[in-house]
């Protein structure tokens, strides 16, 4: 009998305690962030999508070599001696046209290992994390600032320059040592 009434008492009291707690929470400001409208504040050193500042890139390929998943592809073209590419913001001389710089974000593991070796600090993490795509190919980002025609032009310029240099060399060689000429010609395709 005693247990019976203490049961009733405990039940009522605990219900009222619980109701007090929930009522208090009714007036506590909510913790929800209205995501697409309001974005949460990211922590410092947050690792998200990479960005490459091509004005500073010297095409040294160190980031591509540091990448554990090989998602960075860099193609460089030598500048002609007559061309002056200027300097990077921290005073390094640029000697190469970067004609290809793609990062495949479907492979990227956001480890930030590419950021540290960069001598000019031109590759770094941004706070952009919303870049999903319907096609995998759309996740390959091209950072080169040159247009495709310009890139082709740089390659052609170099090829022309090399060919001219080669022709000159050959001419000079032919004049001095005509005997070796044939052997050199044989080796040429292998180079």
């Amino acid at each position: 009998m005693k247990e019976y009434f203490s049961n009733i008492y405990t039940a009522l009291v605990t219900i009222f305690i619980g109701m007090k707690v929930t009522l208090k929470h009714l007036f506590v400001p909510s913790v929800t962030i209205q995501y697409p409208d309001v974005k949460p504040e990211l922590p410092e050193r947050e690792r998200n999508r990479l960005y490459v500042n091509m004005d500073d890139c010297i095409g040294c390929d160190q980031c591509a070599r540091a990448c554990p998943v090989s998602c960075i592809q860099i193609e460089t073209t030598k500048a002609l001696p007559a061309e002056d590419l200027g300097k990077t913001s921290n005073g390094k001389k640029k000697a190469l046209w970067v004609t290809g710089f793609t990062i495949d974000f479907s492979k990227c593991c956001y480890c930030q290992l590419c950021v540290f070796p960069c001598p000019t600090d031109c590759i770094y993490m941004t706070d952009v994390y919303e870049f999903s795509e319907y096609q995998r190919d759309d996740l390959i980002f091209d950072f080169v600032t040159l247009t495709p025609e310009e890139r082709q032009q740089k390659r052609d310029n170099l090829a022309k320059f090399n060919a001219e240099k080669e022709a000159e060399k050959l001419k000079a060689a032919a004049e001095s040592k005509p005997k070796i000429e044939t052997e050199q010609k044989k080796d040429q395709p292998k180079e």
Partner: protein
């Protein structure tokens, strides 16, 4: 009732007849139950969200106030799926029966002194009887669905509703003994004046019986509130629908508008039981502090004020139901039966006898 009000207002019997006829038939459904259900569904989501420090629906309209309208539009567009092995006549009839049962209860609920769907002398008796249809509808839905979860849910629901009707009726009976009437309208009229005339405070008059009745009435109120909570399958008595155990209970197999009818019936029921509690113990449509209409000398304002008071009282108890829902965990089946048979019924019975003796004095 309504007719008299319009005769007073327009002074023309023809207009009064037409207006009261339209209002009488449409008010409960279109002017009250539907807007109320829309509001209550949103309120439930908002209350639950804020009790859990969330925001709830926010995207449709200001703070998501259009959310339920969008949901209803979606439900209307949905395909009405009837599984091939269901018992089709019963399956199709069950939601109608459940909704009819809860809607019919509104006929005898006095919304204001000038508005009561049907002023039957056996008002409270009629309400308890007609809500019995809901039990049949739920069992029908569970059986016809040919689904083990539905059947389990509906059997639990029936066992629960039948058990909890007993304490409800014992409390109603004790109130009928005190007030000597079964008409909810008369009952509300008796509690006129200020809030100390409500039955929770011992009823009208100023005598020894009034003060002796207060503890019994308090106990009666708690019992009827708990048992009506169980009758409408609300948490902590929601084992018929127990989402985590039974998918959705008896309406697992329903989709589209048939599901919407169950949903509407559930919310209509919530208000119906809250209204009964308000009418029995909290003065029905009577204002606790007097009327603005009396103060300003505007006669026609009083029934409208009464309607607002009644709606407010009902909505407050609906809010308490939601509040409890987000506070308490679900009961086990044996605990559920123990609460009814071992606690509520004996106490309600003793309470009934005590009230009987007090009224004899």
């Amino acid at each position: 009732m309504m007719y008299d009000f319009f005769v007073d207002l327009f002074g023309n019997t023809v207009i009064a007849g037409i207006a009261s006829g339209i209002l009488m038939s449409l008010l409960p459904l279109f002017l009250f139950i539907l807007p109320y259900a829309l509001f209550a569904v949103l309120a439930e989501r908002k209350v639950s969200a804020h009790m859990q420090d969330r925001l709830g629906p926010m995207r449709i309209g200001w703070h998501g106030w259009n959310q339920t309208i969008a949901d209803i539009i979606k439900l209307i567009q949905k395909e009405d799926i009837v599984a091939s092995d269901t018992d089709k006549p019963l399956f199709n009839f069950a939601p109608v029966l459940v909704f009819a049962g809860s809607y019919a209860a509104f006929a005898a609920i006095p919304f204001s002194s000038y508005y009561i769907g049907s002023e039957v002398d056996l008002g409270i008796f009629y309400i308890i009887a007609v809500t019995g249809l809901v039990v049949a509808g739920i069992l029908m839905a569970g059986w016809a669905s040919n689904n083990k979860y539905s059947l389990l849910g509906s059997m639990r629901s029936v066992a629960q509703i039948v058990s909890y009707e007993i304490p409800t009726m014992l409390v109603v009976l004790s109130l009928v003994m005190v007030s000597e009437t079964m008409s909810l309208h008369t009952l509300s009229e008796m509690q006129t004046g200020y809030f100390w005339n409500w039955y929770i405070f011992g009823g009208p008059g100023f005598s020894l019986t009034k003060f002796l009745l207060i503890p019994s009435m308090l106990i009666g109120f708690i019992i009827i509130y708990i048992s009506t909570l169980a009758e409408v399958n609300r948490v902590p008595f929601d084992i018929p629908e127990a989402e985590s155990e039974l998918v959705a209970g008896y309406h697992t197999e329903y989709s589209g508008m048939k599901f919407a009818m169950f949903f509407l019936a559930e919310y209509a029921n919530m208000y119906a039981v809250s209204a009964i509690v308000a009418a029995l113990f909290f003065g029905g449509y009577q204002s606790p502090v007097g009327y603005l209409g009396n103060l300003l000398g505007v006669e026609w304002l009083i029934p409208i004020e009464q309607f607002l008071w009644f709606a407010a009282k009902g909505l407050f108890f609906v809010f308490v139901q939601m509040w409890l829902r987000w506070t308490l965990p679900r009961l086990r089946v044996d605990q559920l039966m123990a609460v009814s048979w071992k606690y509520l019924i004996p106490i309600a019975f003793v309470n009934l006898i005590v009230i009987g003796f007090i009224t004899l004095i």
